[in-house]
């Protein structure tokens, strides 16, 4: 064998390399690996948690949605009923209004007719008196015959 001082040199180099590796190489590398493993582990756990949460929320949402749907149906039903009610009411009210307006119209027409009748009556009386005056000129004493003319007018 050919052992010589090289052995010592290599031994020293070996020790130095191992010490350097122990101090500056292994801890950061291994630390980074372990930290990443921890991070991944935490991330996976968090994602599991989130998945469960999602499932829960989804169920909750479904329940809420159903509730909302039934509520909406209820509201629509109510609204329909109310609409029908309003339509009925309005119809009745309209009918009444119409009848009222018609009645009012009738009475107005009546009163107008009466007024016109009265006016016509006076005018005819006047015309009759004027006509009678023209025809009878002198024979008829206005004062003496006015009661007859009045009677005639009343009969018109």
């Amino acid at each position: 064998m050919n052992l010589n001082a090289t052995l010592l040199g290599e031994l020293i180099a070996f020790v130095v390399f191992v010490l350097f590796c122990m101090k500056y190489v292994w801890p950061p590398l291994n630390g980074a690996i372990e930290a990443r493993q921890k991070k991944i582990e935490d991330g996976l756990a968090a994602s599991d948690e989130a998945e469960k949460e999602l499932e829960r929320v989804r169920k909750e949402a479904a329940v809420e949605l159903n509730e909302a749907k039934s509520q909406a149906a209820e509201i629509i039903e109510q609204a329909k009923k109310r609409a029908a009610l309003i339509v009925d009411e309005e119809t009745t009210r309209g009918q009444q209004e119409r009848e009222k307006i018609i009645a009012q119209g009738h009475s107005e027409i009546d009163s107008e007719r009466n007024r016109v009748k009265e006016e016509l009556r006076t005018q005819v009386a006047t015309l009759a008196v004027v006509g009678a005056e023209k025809i009878l000129e002198r024979e008829i004493n206005q004062d003496a015959h006015s009661d007859i003319v009045d009677k005639l007018v009343a009969e018109l």
Binding site: N2, T6, L7, A13, F14, V18, C21, W26, P28
Partner: protein
């Protein structure tokens, strides 16, 4: 290559020789001048390549560490984290206990040894020939006197240094976890044990012998396994490189096969380190 005749065996010899450096009375000396300098010889190529690759490893991983985010990682960070997680998983599976050292140690061993082994896939003549060319042109040396072995793990010094480091850690962990008494007891009171006090003392030498062999065999097996595998692989690459045009398909086949060896040996070294340290720090013998 040098002008003098180059035989196959001298070519192989050249490839298997490290660049040496030693200090003599006349100052720094290199290669053949260091033939009898004994222990205080430095394999410059092994040192340079291994430390360079080690720095490359630290630089790559350090830059990944600096940019690491806990958010979405980039491709580079993913790649680095893949290696870190691979090593981390192996450590967690094998070493039951808390230790800030084992995982970075395993990572360093795995990547460093892998990078050093990877040098084996660079065609054997490229870098030595380049070094020879530089030596010849820049320093006026005979290119045959320039040695360059680029795979540090084919140098027993390299693998032995790694194994020795692990061995010290094994002893350190044993003492730290079980106390000196526990460590000595482990060495002396197993595998043969008896309730009889005198019998126990009588058995101590045998236990000590067996346990010491078992303990020392671990770093030896670590060092020699890596060295043997890579040295043999390198030798075959060198032989393939010497057979002319036929080397192209042969080299491809051996290199493809060697990719497995490279990763496997790095992994085995790392795994055994973790196992040995795990055994050292656990009590159940």
């Amino acid at each position: 290559m040098a002008a003098e005749e180059v035989t196959l065996s001298s070519h192989i010899q050249h490839h298997l020789t490290n660049a040496k450096m030693c200090s003599t009375d006349a100052g720094l000396a290199f290669n053949k001048a260091c033939a009898d300098s004994g222990f205080w010889t430095w394999h410059v190529d092994t040192l340079a390549w291994s430390i360079g690759l080690g720095l490359l490893f630290l630089w790559i991983f350090r830059s990944a560490a600096k940019k690491s985010t806990t958010g979405v990682p980039g491709k580079f960070q993913c790649f680095i984290e893949m290696i870190v997680e691979f090593v981390g998983d192996n450590v967690r599976d094998t070493y039951h206990g808390k230790s800030a050292l084992i995982a970075p140690l395993a990572l360093t061993i795995f990547v460093w040894v892998f990078l050093m082994n990877l040098m084996d896939l660079i065609p054997v003549d490229f870098l030595p020939a380049f070094a020879g060319f530089v030596g010849e042109t820049a320093f006026g040396m005979d290119s045959h006197d320039v040695y360059m072995k680029i795979v540090p793990t084919t140098d027993i010094n390299m693998t032995a240094a790694l194994a020795l480091g692990v061995f010290f850690l094994m002893i350190g962990y044993s003492i730290k976890m079980k106390g000196i008494g526990g460590f000595i007891a482990e060495l002396t009171l197993h595998p043969f044990s008896t309730k009889n006090k005198i019998g126990m003392i009588f058995l101590i030498p045998f236990n000590l012998l067996l346990e010491t062999i078992a303990l020392v065999a671990k770093p030896f097996s670590l060092a020699l396994r890596l060295f043997g595998n890579l040295y043999a692989g390198e030798l075959i690459f060198i032989l393939i490189g010497a057979v002319g045009l036929m080397q192209l398909p042969l080299h491809f086949i051996w290199a493809a096969f060697h990719i497995l060896v490279i990763v496997l040996q790095a992994f085995v070294f790392m795994m055994l380190t973790i196992v040995y340290l795990s055994m050292a720090s656990s009590d159940n013998h």
